[in-house]
């Protein structure tokens, strides 16, 4: 494990990480990988986020969609848990609420594959401060 010794180390590391990790902010990412974030705070998990995440991974596998599924913290939409965010390269990320297995299939087949939106997507109602 490389230790961070100086602030410059950290900054360099940050730049490298941004290019390899943060595909959402670079829409023309060469790998064209879809990124899916499942809100996995206590509230989301209680509403079934873990099962949904597992199902998503299975379904993507089955449908042979190249996507990266990760967990993240609370998005704030407690009324619509489980919530997931789907970032398709070149498009604004979309948040889907009340996600169940049927909806996962719909998201894969209709949104990721065909660019169709689904009813009841959750509009982002906030701005978050962006990194430097």
């Amino acid at each position: 494990m490389n230790k961070v010794k100086t602030l410059d180390d950290l900054r360099k590391m940050r730049e490298t990480l941004r290019t390899t990790l943060d595909i959402r902010e670079k829409s023309n990412h060469p790998e064209q990988m879809v990124q899916i974030r499942v809100s996995m705070a206590t509230c989301g998990i209680a509403a079934g986020a873990k099962e949904i995440m597992n199902y998503f991974i299975e379904a993507l596998d089955r449908e042979k969609v190249d996507a990266l599924v990760t967990q993240t913290g609370c998005m704030g939409y407690c009324y619509a848990e489980p919530t997931i965010e789907v970032a398709v390269p070149g498009k604004e990320p979309i948040v889907f609420g009340h996600v169940n297995k049927e909806k996962v299939d719909e998201i894969i087949n209709r949104y990721i594959r065909q660019g169709e939106l689904l009813d009841d997507i959750i509009p982002v109602t906030y701005t978050a401060i962006k990194p430097e």
């Binding site: 230790k3 961070v4 010794k5 900054r11 993240t72 939409y77 407690c78 009841d120 109602t125 430097e132």
Partner: protein, 597 residues
Amino acid sequence: MAQYSSYILVCGGTGCRASQSELILENLKEAVEQHGLQDTVQVIRTGCFGFCEKGPVVKMVPDNTFYVQVKPSDAEEIVLEHLIKGRKVERLLYVDPETNEQVPDSKHIDFYKKQLRIALRNCGFINPENIDEYIARDGYVALGKALTEMTPESVIKEIMDSGLRGRGGGGFPTGLKWQITRKVQAPQKYVVCNADEGDPGAFMDRSILEGDPHSIVEAMAINGYCTGANKGLVYIRAEYPLAVERLRIAIRQAKEYGLLGENIFGTDFSFDINIRYGAGAFVCGEETALIHSMEGLRGEATVKPPFPSEHGYKGCPTNVNNVETYANVPVILLRGAKWFSSIGTEKSKGTKVFALAGKVNNVGLIEVPMGTTLREVIFGIGGGIKDGKKFKAVQTGGPSGGCLTAKHLDLPIDYDNLLAAGSMMGSGGMIVMDEDDCMVAMAKFYLDFTVEESCGKCAPCRIGNKRLHEILQKITSGNGTIEDLNMLRNLAGVIKDTALCGLGQTSPNPVLSTMDNFYDEYLAHVEEQRCPSHQCRELTQYFINPEKCKGCTLCARICPVNAITGDRKVPHVIDPQTCIRCGSCIEKCKFGAIYVH
């Protein structure tokens, strides 16, 4: 197959639906088809845009044009003008009330700056179990900057200048606290993170720890650098297993990267963090009680002074800050005090996270700049009151706070305004009540909690709150008198005046504020033995309207105490003596024949 290039998003939130958004949706779909655009334009219904006061709302994607107060009849024009001719329908654009100018797209609508995520900046964005994602979003740069480019004094000055105040509820200036701890000379000092979130309904600290644990680790290290502490302790309730787990992972990863431990960033500053578990006592959120609990002693408050800054954990100077406070720290160092203090009101800077709950459509975790009004929060972000009911009150500050009413709706939220209005910021619980809520019962509900959670050390809190609760019980069961109301007020005042710690001093607030704002409800309970909201069971009576009752016998069969009698096809009757007012009959009756009075 359809190849959509444009989308029309129609708000399907409760508020907009009430003003015909469903019809707008239909009309838009129709117009799209009429113009043959169905393969390139998709019309869909979305969740609430949180902009209900200007609803119904329609948003065009990808250009983000935002149409407000749309009527079903506007559908044709939107499709024709916007999609076919490529011109915006100007009369439907949002007009900024400040500048009086039309705002072409949602990105520029002021409203969406209403929710500004600073403390929650990474929640929902990064994988909290991966330090790399935190670093990619500037993680630990603030710590590096502080350690290698700034003196502890200059960091403290930055925090002081930012105007950051304690987010745990007290609102004490954070920089000042750090400075006091720094000034005390001692061989060993501690930095503590108070993650003993105890307000019923508040969960922002948990969400931050679950969504962005590294921000806390980083901020605590910065705090250690400033105050001269090399040990950090996170006091977290054991009921937060996921937060604990993610925090553990974060600490471990930070150690692996050398961002915690010896000689961080090659400097002579070393810092380590340990976790201490709380058993979930509300009073342990009070810093002296918290420290006693960490020491393995009974979690109860002690009189201040001495303050923990001088005499804290194991007698050493200890700086205690809340999770949300810490979450703001790295950003302040990265963006500067000036930027931070440009957000908020004169005396309350930055943003505040609220857990919006109760009778509001969009319950959730929100973060707004200080100075946002209650109206904007409840009717904007919150999407208004559920089921179109009337707003009655909002309780801020949890069981320590007070309730605010319609006359406070335009009050800009900050520490001082809330205090002046008889409530407090607290840790950020915000519970909205509608016309169906009885304010006396509400006060009793909060007292239930405080009576349970009092540590029992000082007499006014231990016995006084119990007696307050008993008087409220008497009133809500119809046995109260005017004299009880006087006694209630006197006792509440004395508890506030004499209790030892913050818990006791604020515990009568729900009683006092409801008495101030809803005295008529109290009067109705004691003078007429009537609960205007029909919430106090002992004061309500169930009746069957013989005109509506068809004698189907369903209610009689469902009644758990056999209080309902009547022959088939003959109107039934409820025996008030036997009835326990459980409400099962009302739920079951298909004819709306049963009513409460």
